[in-house]
Symmetry: D2
Subunit: 88 residues, 4 copies
């Protein structure tokens, strides 16, 4: 596992803890807007993890594919993923 | 807890399970694009939970505030939250 | 037209100017990342206009519907819209 | 201009037309939810244009940078842009 993947994994674990805390808040009947802000914090962590994964994917898999003249398919795959990420 | 809150709580628990599965995938060194798609699925669940919370918040807290002529502040609070949700 | 609608209309007009400037940048063959940042600025303006429209919609149409005990359908309509806005 | 850039430019022009139509709708005092849906359609076009620009950027600028062992900085630049695109 490279550095970006390690950071992504750590961020996912933090996101999991964040969601556990949010579940606890709902069970304690906390104010909806506060719960919603906690969900946003979890989403922000997931986006961060996702960007780290995409970054190392381009730096490794896509770079290697370019070297073997098979970059276009790999880039298409990344763009298809990004289309889902940005909700297109 | 009203029905929408119960559904939101259940959805958060599903999102937690989804993130646990994604952590496992990373530890098993699965293909980056597949991991990223799993993160997207977790984000989709968080958005669903968030919408349920906002929905019941408008139907309850905001409606009651309108009845007491204090709706505007509550709507401002919701819009401020939505601004963060949509990344404005 | 109320104040929030006037602001939304003005913001849409600014967004239109922003897109015209971005089109010009592409025709002048400017650096892709700079073009992309200009598109982001236009999207940010559209989000701002959208939030203003949703805000005055809740403050007016939804509030009136609550007074006539028909709020739930109006809120469902707003939530359906928000689901599209946040890409759920 | 390559094919993806041409498509992006055409999509930006369509987005401009879409915003002009939305401005007209607001001036005609059309229903807020309908106006908001038109704004969403414009945002969807901008996202499409942005993805085309990012795609050809990776296929050209980033690929060339990899060949000169300067890929990492270019990827960092793309990821910084994506962080803004996805609202992180």
């Amino acid at each position: 596992m490279n550095d970006d993947q390690k950071k992504a994994l750590q961020t996912l674990k933090t996101a999991k803890g964040q969601i556990e805390a949010t579940i606890k808040m709902m069970e304690d009947d906390r104010y909806c807007i506060d719960v919603s802000n906690q969900i946003l914090a979890a989403q922000s962590l997931l986006k961060k993890a996702d960007l780290l994964i995409i970054k190392q994917h381009i730096n490794n898999c896509v770079r290697e594919a370019f070297e073997q003249d098979q970059g276009k398919e790999k880039v298409d795959e990344v763009i298809e993923l990004l289309a889902k990420v940005i909700g297109k």
